[in-house]
């Protein structure tokens, strides 16, 4: 148990500072850049922005989820870090579960914070912002889980970074449909479905990711 806490602290320190320099900041900046560019592209008409802005926030969040993937696991696999944890009796499933929590903490909450200035840039009203924030709260764990599974699957591949983007987009479509769908229906049903998808994804990630790490080890 104490090794799990130690591992979580190390993962968080790496994702927020030092090693992954930018691993947390880059998706947020990318997210804000999309929100800033969109009014330039479609024109500043307030009613158009208010109607489509929530959807753009969701698309930006989905694309921002691709950015941290290439460095999420690759370096630790290269330097035999996971091997040494296995030798110390920490199963790959536990390692991946801890990494999922750390990855979501470094990705979800910063994105939800950035959604506030993004909503300002897009002229979203308070009710829409609330739906977007709830949707992101429900959806970002799912995005983090998909991203981590893909990072584990592509860890041994050349060009894995480019591939992971292509793999994430179709897999994230259900999250986008229900999460962004809640904006037009205005109901909480879409958000509840997004949360359900996220929970399922988060539950299978440790096992899928652990199996992928073992497969990469056996080459």
């Amino acid at each position: 148990m104490s090794s799990v806490v130690t591992l979580l602290r190390r993962d968080l320190a790496n994702l927020f500072g030092g090693a992954g320099r930018g691993a947390t900041l880059m998706p947020v900046l990318f997210f804000l850049a999309v929100a800033m560019l969109y009014p330039f592209a479609v024109g500043p008409a307030p009613e158009l922005l208010a109607r489509t802005g929530g959807g753009i926030v969701w698309v930006a969040a989905l694309l921002a989820a691709i950015l941290p993937l290439d460095r999420l696991l690759a370096r630790d696999v290269e330097r035999g870090f996971f091997d040494q944890l296995v030798l110390r009796g920490v199963a790959d499933e536990v390692t991946i579960a801890v990494r999922l929590l750390a990855h979501w903490l470094s990705f979800g909450p910063p994105l939800m914070l950035a959604a506030v200035p993004a909503a300002g840039l897009l002229g979203l009203d308070g009710a829409t912002l609330r739906t977007v924030e709830l949707g992101l709260l429900a959806g970002t764990p799912g995005l983090a889980a998909i991203g981590l599974i893909i990072a584990a699957l592509t860890v041994g591949l050349r060009g894995g970074a480019a591939l992971s983007g292509l793999l994430l987009i179709p897999l994230a479509v259900p999250l986008l449909v229900f999460g962004a769908g809640a904006l037009s229906t205005g109901g909480d049903a879409g958000i509840a479905l997004t949360a359900a998808i996220s929970l399922v994804l988060a539950a299978i990630t440790p096992f899928a990711g652990g199996a992928a790490l073992r497969a990469a080890r056996e080459g």
């Binding site: 030092g18 090693a19 030798l87 056996e218």
Partner: protein, 202 residues
Amino acid sequence: MEASGLTAWELFCRRGDRLLFGSLDLWADKGAAIHLVGPNGIGKTSLLRILAGLLPPSLTHFEHPELPARGSLSWQGSVGLLDGNLPLDEHLSLGRALKFWRAVDGGTADLDRLGLRPLLEIPVRFLSTGQRKRAALACLVGQGVDHWLLDEPLNGLDSDGVTLVESLIAERRAAGGVVVVASHQPIALPGAEVIDLRDHPR
């Protein structure tokens, strides 16, 4: 009869489509040493990873239905592996990077003896090859396990370092540990059993 530290039967190793070695039996009493030899690519590193439990000890591959899939491996005690990797965060200073493994293992190596004390403030990425090997040794010693698997432990080490590794191995064996070494460089392993993987083709 002495207590056995390592028992392994019918080990097979496949990398890709190639069978590297097959039907390898290994056993070692407590305090014994095994020296693995053989040309590059024969499977020494793979064998060490099998012994570490990182690769399966048997072939359950459908491509080789004619081969037995009953490889078994058992250690009496805990095992540590020193391979070509350094499992430390490159951007941290050596002292802080080692602190992570100290927290996981609950023990630490004698840094003065390993010659690492003056390097604790230096980021891991600036360490030389020999210093990295010493840092990896610190992780292994700090792990406090019974048995050691060493993959080219002398790579990059100066003559002091070689003597240090040899004395660390001797101490581990004296404490009842089994030490399995794969090394191309001459290494003093008194009474070690030499296993040439060329004798175990498929």
